[in-house]
Amino acid sequence: MEISYFPGCTLKTNGRNFEGTALPLLELFDIHAKELDDWYCCGVSFSQSADNLMQQIAPIRTLVKAKESGNTRLLTLCAMCYNTLQRAIFFIKSDEDKRDIIHDFMYREGTKFYGDEVEVVHLLTLLKEIGSEEIKKRVKKKVDEFKIAPYYGCMLLRPKEVAIDSSNAPEIMEEILEAAGCETTYFPFKTECCASYQIVNNSEIVKARTKKIVNSAVKNGADVIVLSCPLCFYNLDEIQIEIKKEDKNFKTIPVLYFTQILALLMGIKSEVNNFSLHYIDPTPVLKRKGLL
């Protein structure tokens, strides 16, 4: 099966460990993620002002490319891309007047977009559709007492109309990881924001957030945190180093993409993990648990 794929900007750079593990993983299920020939930056943060339609153009152009690709589904890995594209679809569907204005603006491009032509799916949703049985079948390694804290952050869960699972108490990552034989841990901070792009001008907020989130994971016995957003990844991973500098008692914890764990369990060669992109080295714990 082929599915169109929108990588977004970061997966080609900081997020190579994410894409690198996700795509081979899908191949195991005979799903070929075909990157769009041509795509635009999604804009990352969805514009919320009623009168700023310009910012909607970029994601819509990408969706038009997806429509032209001939596949009806567009796969995303990055939570932010998922969010922006999905909200663009929701926006186009829910406001006819604004849709018309956008169509007028794009008239030279010779195409229109109504929102029903393509469906944006996140990898987690896709894996859930594939189902536990199929996931189980492909697992090669067994791990014991490896406790994973799945962290969702914001963009997969909010606003409600784009949420891939319950906004308050999502379970989808747990379901998939447990199907693959992992143990997940109760983690009350799994849906809390890491402070996102505030890393650029106010890293103190990110520090405070990460400290709360990491402490909670550690307290609940987690060995690693897994997630699905390159920005959360950076915020939770790199900042721990900064926190550690200030607070010697702070206990760090490795952060991984959920696909990295699945790829290791399914026997995909470990090089795709690009462990050099991690700030807190996850290899010791992975070795201890027999995954490396």
Partner: protein, 137 residues
């Protein structure tokens, strides 16, 4: 913050308030001040004025306080507040509105050159782009 304020219907006629309501399309009068938005906000501790007080200030027409507060710039557009609000107030959208009202006065909030070079190289692109989109017009 001022300790005394004169409440008057004149406050609502303020141009910025009207623009804010227009840009955000949020009906702030739905809010019954339960504070759930603030309690869910990841940046609460860093804000001059937590989200529920921003709403309150819009309800009463105290626009200057809002424009001066760091709140909209601290907001991470995480939408936690919006999904929690029992009355369906889209606070995240209102925050965007406040940012836009200020930005459209020609006041950018961020000077790209001020960002630490090392940080700039190290950060994922999505962090930078998201930030630019919220802080410069």
């Amino acid at each position: 913050m001022e300790k005394r304020m004169t409440v008057s219907s004149q406050n609502f006629k303020n141009e910025d308030i009207q623009k804010l309501e227009e840009i955000s399309e949020v009906n702030v009068y739905s809010c019954y001040q339960c504070g759930n938005c603030s309690a869910s906000c990841p940046a609460f501790e860093f804000m001059d004025m937590p989200p529920h007080q921003v709403i309150r200030a819009v309800q009463l027409g105290f626009i200057d306080e809002i424009l001066e507060a760091n709140t909209p710039w601290i907001c991470a557009a995480c939408i936690s507040c919006t999904v929690k609000c029992p009355r369906g107030v889209d606070i995240a959208k209102l925050m965007e509105g406040v940012r836009q009202v200020i930005l459209r006065k020609g006041i950018d909030h961020l000077n790209i050159n001020e960002i630490d070079k090392k940080l700039r190289e190290q950060l994922p692109q999505i962090a930078l782009i998201a930030n630019f989109r919220k802080t410069i017009l």
